[in-house]
Amino acid sequence: MSPELQQVGREEFVLNMGPHHPATHGVLRFVLHTDGEIMRRAVPEVGYLHRGLEKLAEAHTYAAYVPFTDRINYLESMFCNQVWSMAVERLLGLQVPRRAEYLRVIACELNRIANHCIALGSIAMDVGAYTPFVYLLREREAINDLLEALCGNRLTYHYVRIGGVAHDVDEGWQGKVRAYLDHLEPILDELHSLVGGNEILVRRLGGVAVICASDAVGWGLVGPNLRASGVDWDLRRDRPYSVYPELSFEVPVGRGEQGQVGDCYDRWTVRVAEMRQSVRLLRQALERLPAGDILAKVPRSIKPPAGEVYQPVEGARGELGLYLVSDGSPKPSRAKWRSSSFAALSIVEHLSRGLMIADLVALIASLDPIAPEVDR
Protein backbone atom coordinates (compact mmCIF):
# COMPACT_ATOMS: atom_id res chain seq x y z
CA MET A 1 0.00 0.00 0.00
CA SER A 2 1.31 3.43 -0.92
CA PRO A 3 1.98 5.89 1.92
CA GLU A 4 -0.96 8.08 0.83
CA LEU A 5 -3.36 5.17 0.85
CA GLN A 6 -2.11 4.12 4.26
CA GLN A 7 -2.93 7.62 5.43
CA VAL A 8 -6.48 7.31 4.02
CA GLY A 9 -6.85 3.87 5.47
CA ARG A 10 -6.42 5.12 9.02
CA GLU A 11 -9.59 7.15 8.98
CA GLU A 12 -12.61 6.02 10.91
CA PHE A 13 -16.05 5.80 9.40
CA VAL A 14 -19.08 5.92 11.65
CA LEU A 15 -22.05 3.94 10.42
CA ASN A 16 -25.47 3.65 11.98
CA MET A 17 -27.09 0.25 12.05
CA GLY A 18 -30.68 0.60 13.15
CA PRO A 19 -32.81 1.59 14.97
CA HIS A 20 -34.89 0.12 12.16
CA HIS A 21 -32.78 -2.61 10.71
CA PRO A 22 -33.91 -6.18 10.09
CA ALA A 23 -30.82 -7.61 11.78
CA THR A 24 -31.19 -5.76 15.07
CA HIS A 25 -34.22 -7.78 16.23
CA GLY A 26 -36.43 -4.95 17.29
CA VAL A 27 -35.86 -1.27 17.67
CA LEU A 28 -32.20 -1.22 18.59
CA ARG A 29 -29.31 0.83 17.27
CA PHE A 30 -25.65 -0.03 16.85
CA VAL A 31 -23.12 2.69 16.17
CA LEU A 32 -20.37 1.05 14.13
CA HIS A 33 -16.93 2.63 14.07
CA THR A 34 -15.40 1.00 11.05
CA ASP A 35 -12.21 1.01 9.13
CA GLY A 36 -13.30 -0.28 5.76
CA GLU A 37 -15.05 -3.59 6.33
CA ILE A 38 -13.31 -4.11 9.65
CA MET A 39 -14.96 -2.98 12.82
CA ARG A 40 -13.08 -0.92 15.35
CA ARG A 41 -15.95 -1.15 17.73
CA ALA A 42 -19.73 -1.43 17.69
CA VAL A 43 -21.60 0.35 20.45
CA PRO A 44 -25.17 -0.72 21.18
CA GLU A 45 -27.59 2.12 21.81
CA VAL A 46 -30.51 0.94 23.89
CA GLY A 47 -33.64 2.57 25.21
CA TYR A 48 -35.88 2.91 22.16
CA LEU A 49 -38.43 0.50 23.56
CA HIS A 50 -38.38 1.66 27.15
CA ARG A 51 -41.93 1.45 28.46
CA GLY A 52 -41.26 1.91 32.14
CA LEU A 53 -42.43 -1.57 33.05
CA GLU A 54 -40.51 -1.54 36.33
CA LYS A 55 -42.08 1.74 37.38
CA LEU A 56 -45.51 0.49 36.27
CA ALA A 57 -45.23 -2.32 38.81
CA GLU A 58 -45.26 0.25 41.61
CA ALA A 59 -48.65 1.52 40.44
CA HIS A 60 -50.42 -1.84 40.15
CA THR A 61 -51.45 -4.55 42.55
CA TYR A 62 -49.52 -7.81 42.48
CA ALA A 63 -52.21 -9.67 40.54
CA ALA A 64 -52.89 -6.84 38.08
CA TYR A 65 -49.21 -6.67 37.08
CA VAL A 66 -49.16 -10.23 35.72
CA PRO A 67 -50.48 -9.20 32.25
CA PHE A 68 -47.71 -6.59 32.07
CA THR A 69 -45.06 -9.25 32.58
CA ASP A 70 -46.25 -10.75 29.27
CA ARG A 71 -44.94 -7.63 27.61
CA ILE A 72 -41.44 -7.77 29.11
CA ASN A 73 -40.41 -10.26 26.51
CA TYR A 74 -43.05 -11.30 24.03
CA LEU A 75 -41.17 -14.44 23.02
CA GLU A 76 -40.93 -15.88 26.52
CA SER A 77 -43.98 -14.46 28.27
CA MET A 78 -44.56 -17.70 30.10
CA PHE A 79 -41.26 -17.41 31.95
CA CYS A 80 -41.93 -13.78 32.83
CA ASN A 81 -45.33 -14.77 34.21
CA GLN A 82 -43.71 -17.55 36.15
CA VAL A 83 -40.89 -15.54 37.69
CA TRP A 84 -43.30 -12.86 38.88
CA SER A 85 -45.65 -15.44 40.36
CA MET A 86 -42.83 -17.33 42.03
CA ALA A 87 -41.43 -14.18 43.60
CA VAL A 88 -44.80 -13.16 45.03
CA GLU A 89 -45.43 -16.73 46.20
CA ARG A 90 -42.12 -16.71 48.04
CA LEU A 91 -42.98 -13.42 49.73
CA LEU A 92 -46.38 -14.82 50.71
CA GLY A 93 -45.00 -18.23 51.70
CA LEU A 94 -47.50 -19.91 49.39
CA GLN A 95 -47.34 -23.56 48.37
CA VAL A 96 -48.31 -24.18 44.75
CA PRO A 97 -50.33 -27.35 43.99
CA ARG A 98 -48.34 -30.03 42.19
CA ARG A 99 -50.66 -30.15 39.20
CA ALA A 100 -50.10 -26.44 38.71
CA GLU A 101 -46.32 -26.91 38.89
CA TYR A 102 -46.47 -29.58 36.20
CA LEU A 103 -48.71 -27.44 34.02
CA ARG A 104 -46.20 -24.61 34.42
CA VAL A 105 -43.39 -26.88 33.29
CA ILE A 106 -45.41 -28.02 30.27
CA ALA A 107 -46.35 -24.48 29.28
CA CYS A 108 -42.82 -23.17 29.83
CA GLU A 109 -41.10 -25.90 27.84
CA LEU A 110 -43.53 -25.38 24.95
CA ASN A 111 -42.69 -21.71 25.14
CA ARG A 112 -38.98 -22.52 25.13
CA ILE A 113 -39.32 -24.54 21.92
CA ALA A 114 -41.32 -21.72 20.31
CA ASN A 115 -38.68 -19.21 21.34
CA HIS A 116 -35.81 -21.29 19.99
CA CYS A 117 -37.70 -21.68 16.70
CA ILE A 118 -37.56 -17.91 16.30
CA ALA A 119 -33.96 -17.72 17.55
CA LEU A 120 -32.68 -20.37 15.13
CA GLY A 121 -34.76 -19.00 12.29
CA SER A 122 -33.42 -15.52 12.72
CA ILE A 123 -29.81 -16.71 13.01
CA ALA A 124 -30.26 -18.49 9.67
CA MET A 125 -32.06 -15.54 8.13
CA ASP A 126 -29.46 -13.02 9.24
CA VAL A 127 -26.68 -14.99 7.60
CA GLY A 128 -28.67 -15.25 4.40
CA ALA A 129 -30.81 -18.40 4.57
CA TYR A 130 -34.46 -17.49 4.40
CA THR A 131 -36.02 -20.95 4.11
CA PRO A 132 -35.24 -22.27 7.62
CA PHE A 133 -36.90 -19.21 9.08
CA VAL A 134 -40.15 -19.96 7.28
CA TYR A 135 -40.00 -23.66 8.18
CA LEU A 136 -39.40 -22.85 11.84
CA LEU A 137 -42.19 -20.31 11.90
CA ARG A 138 -44.48 -23.07 10.66
CA GLU A 139 -43.49 -25.23 13.63
CA ARG A 140 -43.88 -22.34 16.04
CA GLU A 141 -47.35 -21.72 14.67
CA ALA A 142 -48.40 -25.20 15.83
CA ILE A 143 -47.12 -24.42 19.35
CA ASN A 144 -48.98 -21.12 19.26
CA ASP A 145 -52.15 -23.06 18.46
CA LEU A 146 -51.55 -25.41 21.39
CA LEU A 147 -50.84 -22.57 23.79
CA GLU A 148 -53.83 -20.65 22.48
CA ALA A 149 -56.09 -23.57 23.36
CA LEU A 150 -54.51 -23.70 26.82
CA CYS A 151 -54.12 -20.03 27.74
CA GLY A 152 -56.42 -18.10 25.44
CA ASN A 153 -53.76 -16.13 23.64
CA ARG A 154 -50.97 -16.74 21.22
CA LEU A 155 -48.26 -14.48 22.56
CA THR A 156 -49.27 -12.69 25.74
CA TYR A 157 -50.31 -15.78 27.60
CA HIS A 158 -51.25 -14.45 31.05
CA TYR A 159 -51.35 -18.09 32.10
CA VAL A 160 -49.15 -18.55 35.15
CA ARG A 161 -50.84 -16.77 38.04
CA ILE A 162 -49.87 -16.13 41.60
CA GLY A 163 -50.57 -19.42 43.36
CA GLY A 164 -50.94 -21.63 40.31
CA VAL A 165 -52.15 -21.41 36.74
CA ALA A 166 -55.24 -19.86 35.16
CA HIS A 167 -56.80 -22.77 33.29
CA ASP A 168 -56.78 -26.52 33.44
CA VAL A 169 -56.05 -28.51 30.29
CA ASP A 170 -58.99 -29.48 28.11
CA GLU A 171 -59.98 -32.98 27.12
CA GLY A 172 -57.65 -34.18 24.38
CA TRP A 173 -55.11 -31.38 24.69
CA GLN A 174 -52.39 -33.62 26.04
CA GLY A 175 -52.89 -35.97 23.10
CA LYS A 176 -52.42 -33.04 20.74
CA VAL A 177 -49.17 -32.07 22.45
CA ARG A 178 -47.90 -35.66 22.22
CA ALA A 179 -48.80 -35.81 18.53
CA TYR A 180 -46.99 -32.52 18.00
CA LEU A 181 -43.86 -33.76 19.77
CA ASP A 182 -43.85 -36.86 17.57
CA HIS A 183 -44.05 -34.56 14.58
CA LEU A 184 -41.38 -32.17 15.86
CA GLU A 185 -38.54 -34.62 16.41
CA PRO A 186 -38.14 -35.58 12.72
CA ILE A 187 -38.44 -31.89 11.87
CA LEU A 188 -35.41 -31.19 14.06
CA ASP A 189 -33.46 -33.82 12.13
CA GLU A 190 -34.73 -32.28 8.92
CA LEU A 191 -33.57 -28.89 10.13
CA HIS A 192 -30.14 -30.31 10.70
CA SER A 193 -29.96 -31.73 7.18
CA LEU A 194 -31.32 -28.50 5.76
CA VAL A 195 -28.78 -26.18 7.32
CA GLY A 196 -26.44 -28.09 9.62
CA GLY A 197 -24.32 -29.27 6.71
CA ASN A 198 -24.76 -26.19 4.57
CA GLU A 199 -21.35 -24.88 3.64
CA ILE A 200 -22.39 -21.22 3.63
CA LEU A 201 -24.03 -21.38 7.03
CA VAL A 202 -21.18 -23.34 8.58
CA ARG A 203 -18.61 -20.87 7.29
CA ARG A 204 -20.63 -17.87 8.37
CA LEU A 205 -21.06 -19.23 11.90
CA GLY A 206 -18.15 -21.59 12.59
CA GLY A 207 -15.22 -19.98 14.39
CA VAL A 208 -16.85 -16.53 14.25
CA ALA A 209 -17.05 -14.24 17.30
CA VAL A 210 -15.70 -16.75 19.78
CA ILE A 211 -16.61 -16.08 23.40
CA CYS A 212 -14.27 -17.89 25.77
CA ALA A 213 -15.65 -19.32 28.99
CA SER A 214 -14.08 -16.70 31.27
CA ASP A 215 -15.43 -13.86 29.11
CA ALA A 216 -18.87 -15.42 29.09
CA VAL A 217 -18.90 -15.65 32.86
CA GLY A 218 -17.31 -12.25 33.30
CA TRP A 219 -19.83 -10.42 31.14
CA GLY A 220 -22.72 -12.17 32.81
CA LEU A 221 -23.94 -14.17 29.84
CA VAL A 222 -26.60 -16.70 30.75
CA GLY A 223 -28.52 -19.56 29.26
CA PRO A 224 -27.67 -20.96 25.82
CA ASN A 225 -25.08 -18.23 25.22
CA LEU A 226 -23.19 -19.23 28.34
CA ARG A 227 -23.51 -22.96 27.72
CA ALA A 228 -22.27 -22.54 24.15
CA SER A 229 -19.00 -21.30 25.66
CA GLY A 230 -18.66 -24.61 27.45
CA VAL A 231 -19.87 -23.54 30.89
CA ASP A 232 -22.13 -26.25 32.26
CA TRP A 233 -24.69 -24.18 34.12
CA ASP A 234 -28.43 -24.50 34.11
CA LEU A 235 -30.65 -23.15 36.87
CA ARG A 236 -33.16 -25.93 36.34
CA ARG A 237 -30.52 -28.41 37.46
CA ASP A 238 -28.13 -26.35 39.60
CA ARG A 239 -30.62 -24.20 41.50
CA PRO A 240 -33.64 -26.49 41.32
CA TYR A 241 -37.08 -24.95 41.42
CA SER A 242 -40.58 -26.11 40.59
CA VAL A 243 -40.67 -29.87 39.79
CA TYR A 244 -37.54 -29.98 37.64
CA PRO A 245 -35.64 -32.17 40.13
CA GLU A 246 -38.19 -34.93 39.47
CA LEU A 247 -37.61 -34.87 35.72
CA SER A 248 -34.51 -36.10 33.97
CA PHE A 249 -32.83 -34.06 31.28
CA GLU A 250 -29.36 -33.20 30.08
CA VAL A 251 -27.73 -29.82 29.83
CA PRO A 252 -26.16 -29.43 26.38
CA VAL A 253 -22.92 -27.45 26.18
CA GLY A 254 -20.94 -26.16 23.24
CA ARG A 255 -18.32 -28.57 21.86
CA GLY A 256 -16.88 -26.55 19.01
CA GLU A 257 -18.08 -28.88 16.26
CA GLN A 258 -17.23 -26.48 13.43
CA GLY A 259 -14.47 -24.34 14.82
CA GLN A 260 -13.90 -23.28 18.40
CA VAL A 261 -15.93 -23.70 21.56
CA GLY A 262 -18.07 -20.60 22.00
CA ASP A 263 -18.41 -19.59 18.36
CA CYS A 264 -21.69 -18.67 16.69
CA TYR A 265 -22.17 -22.23 15.43
CA ASP A 266 -22.09 -23.54 18.99
CA ARG A 267 -24.76 -21.09 19.99
CA TRP A 268 -26.82 -22.59 17.15
CA THR A 269 -26.24 -26.24 18.07
CA VAL A 270 -26.84 -25.67 21.79
CA ARG A 271 -30.27 -24.27 20.98
CA VAL A 272 -31.14 -27.23 18.75
CA ALA A 273 -30.03 -29.61 21.50
CA GLU A 274 -32.08 -27.69 24.05
CA MET A 275 -35.18 -28.13 21.93
CA ARG A 276 -34.62 -31.90 22.03
CA GLN A 277 -34.26 -31.76 25.81
CA SER A 278 -37.47 -29.75 26.04
CA VAL A 279 -39.25 -32.45 24.04
CA ARG A 280 -37.92 -34.97 26.53
CA LEU A 281 -39.04 -32.89 29.51
CA LEU A 282 -42.48 -32.40 27.97
CA ARG A 283 -42.99 -36.13 27.45
CA GLN A 284 -42.12 -36.83 31.09
CA ALA A 285 -44.27 -34.01 32.43
CA LEU A 286 -47.28 -35.08 30.37
CA GLU A 287 -46.80 -38.63 31.58
CA ARG A 288 -46.67 -37.67 35.24
CA LEU A 289 -49.22 -34.87 35.31
CA PRO A 290 -50.89 -35.47 38.69
CA ALA A 291 -54.53 -34.82 39.49
CA GLY A 292 -55.53 -32.06 41.87
CA ASP A 293 -56.04 -28.35 42.14
CA ILE A 294 -54.52 -25.88 39.74
CA LEU A 295 -54.68 -22.86 42.03
CA ALA A 296 -53.72 -22.54 45.68
CA LYS A 297 -55.88 -20.64 48.15
CA VAL A 298 -54.75 -17.12 47.39
CA PRO A 299 -56.02 -14.28 49.56
CA ARG A 300 -58.40 -11.99 47.70
CA SER A 301 -56.21 -8.97 48.32
CA ILE A 302 -52.56 -9.95 48.06
CA LYS A 303 -50.54 -8.12 50.69
CA PRO A 304 -47.18 -9.82 51.21
CA PRO A 305 -45.33 -9.03 54.42
CA ALA A 306 -42.57 -6.46 54.11
CA GLY A 307 -39.44 -8.00 52.70
CA GLU A 308 -37.40 -8.52 49.60
CA VAL A 309 -36.72 -11.47 47.36
CA TYR A 310 -34.65 -12.31 44.29
CA GLN A 311 -36.19 -15.00 42.17
CA PRO A 312 -34.45 -16.38 39.07
CA VAL A 313 -35.74 -18.94 36.60
CA GLU A 314 -34.08 -20.53 33.61
CA GLY A 315 -35.88 -18.81 30.79
CA ALA A 316 -35.43 -19.53 27.12
CA ARG A 317 -32.58 -17.01 27.02
CA GLY A 318 -31.19 -18.05 30.38
CA GLU A 319 -31.48 -16.61 33.83
CA LEU A 320 -34.45 -14.30 34.02
CA GLY A 321 -34.48 -12.72 37.44
CA LEU A 322 -36.78 -10.52 39.42
CA TYR A 323 -35.84 -8.54 42.50
CA LEU A 324 -39.01 -7.63 44.30
CA VAL A 325 -39.39 -5.43 47.39
CA SER A 326 -42.61 -5.42 49.35
CA ASP A 327 -43.49 -2.85 52.01
CA GLY A 328 -46.58 -4.70 53.20
CA SER A 329 -48.98 -2.70 51.03
CA PRO A 330 -51.02 -4.16 48.15
CA LYS A 331 -48.57 -2.74 45.62
CA PRO A 332 -44.89 -3.61 45.26
CA SER A 333 -42.46 -0.98 46.40
CA ARG A 334 -39.82 -1.87 43.81
CA ALA A 335 -39.47 -4.42 41.04
CA LYS A 336 -36.24 -4.89 39.13
CA TRP A 337 -35.93 -7.26 36.21
CA ARG A 338 -32.62 -8.90 35.41
CA SER A 339 -32.92 -9.60 31.74
CA SER A 340 -30.67 -11.93 29.81
CA SER A 341 -30.77 -9.88 26.59
CA PHE A 342 -29.29 -6.86 28.34
CA ALA A 343 -26.30 -8.88 29.50
CA ALA A 344 -25.94 -10.40 26.03
CA LEU A 345 -25.82 -6.96 24.42
CA SER A 346 -23.18 -5.66 26.81
CA ILE A 347 -20.59 -8.08 25.44
CA VAL A 348 -21.07 -6.89 21.83
CA GLU A 349 -18.74 -3.89 22.12
CA HIS A 350 -15.99 -6.04 23.61
CA LEU A 351 -16.32 -8.72 20.92
CA SER A 352 -16.78 -6.42 17.96
CA ARG A 353 -13.16 -5.23 17.78
CA GLY A 354 -11.71 -6.57 14.55
CA LEU A 355 -14.87 -8.30 13.35
CA MET A 356 -16.18 -7.85 9.82
CA ILE A 357 -19.47 -5.98 9.57
CA ALA A 358 -21.20 -9.09 8.24
CA ASP A 359 -19.90 -11.13 11.17
CA LEU A 360 -21.34 -8.62 13.60
CA VAL A 361 -24.77 -9.48 12.20
CA ALA A 362 -24.09 -13.16 12.84
CA LEU A 363 -22.89 -12.36 16.37
CA ILE A 364 -25.98 -10.32 17.26
CA ALA A 365 -28.31 -12.96 15.84
CA SER A 366 -26.56 -15.77 17.67
CA LEU A 367 -26.79 -13.94 21.00
CA ASP A 368 -30.58 -13.78 20.43
CA PRO A 369 -31.31 -10.48 22.16
CA ILE A 370 -34.82 -9.09 22.17
CA ALA A 371 -35.13 -5.33 22.24
CA PRO A 372 -38.19 -5.00 24.50
CA GLU A 373 -36.48 -7.14 27.11
CA VAL A 374 -33.34 -5.02 26.95
CA ASP A 375 -35.21 -1.79 27.58
CA ARG A 376 -38.23 -3.05 29.52
Binding site: A64, P67, Y135, G152, T156, G197, E199, V202
Partner: protein, 176 residues
Protein backbone atom coordinates in the same frame (compact mmCIF):
# COMPACT_ATOMS: atom_id res chain seq x y z
CA UNK B 1 -13.54 -33.77 3.22
CA UNK B 2 -14.83 -30.22 2.92
CA UNK B 3 -15.88 -30.78 -0.67
CA UNK B 4 -17.75 -33.95 0.27
CA UNK B 5 -19.43 -32.08 3.13
CA UNK B 6 -20.48 -29.29 0.79
CA UNK B 7 -21.95 -31.70 -1.75
CA UNK B 8 -23.78 -33.67 0.90
CA UNK B 9 -25.03 -30.52 2.62
CA UNK B 10 -26.34 -29.07 -0.62
CA UNK B 11 -28.05 -32.28 -1.73
CA UNK B 12 -29.65 -32.92 1.66
CA UNK B 13 -30.99 -29.38 1.74
CA UNK B 14 -32.34 -29.73 -1.79
CA UNK B 15 -34.06 -32.94 -0.76
CA UNK B 16 -35.84 -31.18 2.09
CA UNK B 17 -36.91 -28.39 -0.23
CA UNK B 18 -38.22 -30.85 -2.82
CA UNK B 19 -40.21 -32.67 -0.18
CA UNK B 20 -41.82 -29.39 0.80
CA UNK B 21 -43.29 -28.99 -2.68
CA UNK B 22 -45.63 -31.88 -1.99
CA UNK B 23 -46.66 -30.71 1.44
CA UNK B 24 -49.92 -28.96 2.05
CA UNK B 25 -49.32 -25.22 2.44
CA UNK B 26 -49.14 -24.08 6.05
CA UNK B 27 -50.69 -20.71 5.27
CA UNK B 28 -54.32 -19.81 4.68
CA UNK B 29 -55.59 -17.05 2.35
CA UNK B 30 -56.76 -14.84 5.18
CA UNK B 31 -59.72 -12.66 4.33
CA UNK B 32 -61.35 -15.45 2.33
CA UNK B 33 -60.60 -18.24 4.80
CA UNK B 34 -60.83 -17.26 8.44
CA UNK B 35 -59.16 -19.16 11.17
CA UNK B 36 -61.43 -20.05 14.08
CA UNK B 37 -59.51 -19.53 17.32
CA UNK B 38 -59.83 -21.72 20.38
CA UNK B 39 -62.93 -21.10 22.51
CA UNK B 40 -60.75 -19.70 25.26
CA UNK B 41 -59.32 -17.04 22.98
CA UNK B 42 -59.42 -13.58 24.44
CA UNK B 43 -60.50 -10.91 22.02
CA UNK B 44 -63.54 -8.62 21.66
CA UNK B 45 -65.45 -8.26 24.92
CA UNK B 46 -69.23 -8.58 25.08
CA UNK B 47 -71.93 -7.99 27.68
CA UNK B 48 -74.24 -10.99 27.85
CA UNK B 49 -77.84 -11.52 28.94
CA UNK B 50 -79.38 -13.88 31.47
CA UNK B 51 -81.67 -16.78 30.37
CA UNK B 52 -84.73 -14.50 30.53
CA UNK B 53 -83.18 -11.96 28.19
CA UNK B 54 -82.40 -9.29 30.78
CA UNK B 55 -79.05 -7.59 31.09
CA UNK B 56 -76.78 -9.45 33.46
CA UNK B 57 -74.56 -6.52 34.44
CA UNK B 58 -75.36 -5.00 37.82
CA UNK B 59 -72.85 -2.14 37.53
CA UNK B 60 -70.83 -3.34 40.49
CA UNK B 61 -67.60 -1.82 39.07
CA UNK B 62 -65.61 -4.98 39.86
CA UNK B 63 -64.46 -5.31 36.26
CA UNK B 64 -63.30 -1.72 36.05
CA UNK B 65 -61.49 -2.12 39.37
CA UNK B 66 -59.73 -5.25 38.12
CA UNK B 67 -58.74 -3.78 34.78
CA UNK B 68 -55.00 -3.02 34.89
CA UNK B 69 -55.23 -0.31 32.23
CA UNK B 70 -58.46 1.34 33.41
CA UNK B 71 -60.27 1.08 30.11
CA UNK B 72 -63.74 0.24 31.45
CA UNK B 73 -66.01 2.99 32.69
CA UNK B 74 -69.69 2.98 33.57
CA UNK B 75 -72.41 4.77 35.44
CA UNK B 76 -74.60 2.80 37.80
CA UNK B 77 -78.35 3.34 37.97
CA UNK B 78 -81.18 1.62 39.83
CA UNK B 79 -84.39 0.25 38.38
CA UNK B 80 -87.80 0.59 40.11
CA UNK B 81 -87.41 -2.78 41.82
CA UNK B 82 -84.03 -1.86 43.31
CA UNK B 83 -82.16 -3.79 40.63
CA UNK B 84 -78.95 -2.02 39.60
CA UNK B 85 -77.94 -1.72 36.00
CA UNK B 86 -75.43 0.27 34.00
CA UNK B 87 -76.86 3.52 32.63
CA UNK B 88 -73.93 3.59 30.28
CA UNK B 89 -71.02 1.24 29.91
CA UNK B 90 -67.94 1.95 27.88
CA UNK B 91 -64.84 -0.07 26.98
CA UNK B 92 -62.01 1.62 25.21
CA UNK B 93 -60.58 -1.13 23.04
CA UNK B 94 -57.66 0.99 21.96
CA UNK B 95 -56.36 0.68 25.52
CA UNK B 96 -57.51 -2.84 26.34
CA UNK B 97 -54.70 -5.39 26.53
CA UNK B 98 -57.07 -8.41 26.42
CA UNK B 99 -55.84 -9.85 29.66
CA UNK B 100 -59.23 -11.25 30.65
CA UNK B 101 -59.08 -10.01 34.24
CA UNK B 102 -62.45 -8.24 33.86
CA UNK B 103 -64.19 -11.43 32.80
CA UNK B 104 -62.62 -13.27 35.73
CA UNK B 105 -63.75 -10.61 38.20
CA UNK B 106 -67.37 -10.41 37.09
CA UNK B 107 -69.72 -12.11 39.59
CA UNK B 108 -72.68 -12.19 37.18
CA UNK B 109 -70.78 -13.50 34.13
CA UNK B 110 -71.99 -10.43 32.30
CA UNK B 111 -68.70 -9.43 30.76
CA UNK B 112 -67.09 -12.15 28.65
CA UNK B 113 -64.25 -12.51 26.20
CA UNK B 114 -65.05 -13.80 22.70
CA UNK B 115 -62.76 -15.17 19.98
CA UNK B 116 -63.69 -12.39 17.53
CA UNK B 117 -60.25 -11.05 16.73
CA UNK B 118 -61.14 -8.65 13.92
CA UNK B 119 -60.89 -5.45 15.89
CA UNK B 120 -59.48 -2.90 13.49
CA UNK B 121 -60.94 0.50 12.78
CA UNK B 122 -59.66 3.35 10.70
CA UNK B 123 -60.55 5.87 13.39
CA UNK B 124 -59.31 5.06 16.93
CA UNK B 125 -62.44 6.68 18.38
CA UNK B 126 -64.50 3.93 16.78
CA UNK B 127 -62.71 1.54 19.11
CA UNK B 128 -64.54 3.07 22.05
CA UNK B 129 -67.45 0.67 22.38
CA UNK B 130 -70.62 1.83 24.11
CA UNK B 131 -73.14 -0.40 25.83
CA UNK B 132 -75.20 -0.85 22.63
CA UNK B 133 -72.10 -2.14 20.84
CA UNK B 134 -71.15 -4.46 23.66
CA UNK B 135 -74.54 -6.03 24.46
CA UNK B 136 -75.32 -9.31 22.72
CA UNK B 137 -78.58 -11.28 22.65
CA UNK B 138 -77.05 -14.35 24.21
CA UNK B 139 -75.83 -15.89 27.42
CA UNK B 140 -72.32 -16.51 26.14
CA UNK B 141 -70.24 -19.20 27.77
CA UNK B 142 -72.64 -20.28 30.53
CA UNK B 143 -76.14 -19.76 29.15
CA UNK B 144 -78.07 -21.02 32.17
CA UNK B 145 -76.24 -19.02 34.78
CA UNK B 146 -78.65 -16.63 36.45
CA UNK B 147 -77.14 -14.47 39.16
CA UNK B 148 -80.52 -13.29 40.45
CA UNK B 149 -81.74 -16.77 41.04
CA UNK B 150 -78.86 -17.09 43.50
CA UNK B 151 -78.77 -13.61 44.93
CA UNK B 152 -82.30 -12.23 44.63
CA UNK B 153 -83.25 -8.65 43.88
CA UNK B 154 -83.17 -6.24 46.79
CA UNK B 155 -85.99 -6.54 49.34
CA UNK B 156 -89.75 -6.55 49.03
CA UNK B 157 -90.31 -3.09 50.43
CA UNK B 158 -88.49 0.08 49.57
CA UNK B 159 -85.34 1.00 51.52
CA UNK B 160 -85.85 2.84 54.81
CA UNK B 161 -89.52 1.87 55.09
CA UNK B 162 -89.07 -0.76 57.81
CA UNK B 163 -90.04 0.01 61.39
CA UNK B 164 -86.45 0.03 62.68
CA UNK B 165 -84.91 1.73 59.64
CA UNK B 166 -84.03 5.29 58.87
CA UNK B 167 -84.60 6.64 55.39
CA UNK B 168 -81.51 6.45 53.19
CA UNK B 169 -79.20 9.45 53.32
CA UNK B 170 -79.12 11.81 50.39
CA UNK B 171 -75.45 11.51 49.45
CA UNK B 172 -75.55 14.65 47.29
CA UNK B 173 -76.79 16.94 50.03
CA UNK B 174 -74.72 18.71 52.66
CA UNK B 175 -77.58 18.89 55.17
CA UNK B 176 -77.54 16.46 58.08
Amino acid sequence: MTLWRSIRGTLAALGVTLKAIFRRPATIPYPEVKRVPAPRYRARIVLTRDPRGGERCVACHLCSAACPVNCISMQAAEGPDGRRYAAWFRINFSRCIFCGLCAEACPTLAIQMTPDYELCRRDPLELVFEKEDLLVEDGGKDRDYDFYRHAGIGVAQARGEGSEEEPPADVRSLLP
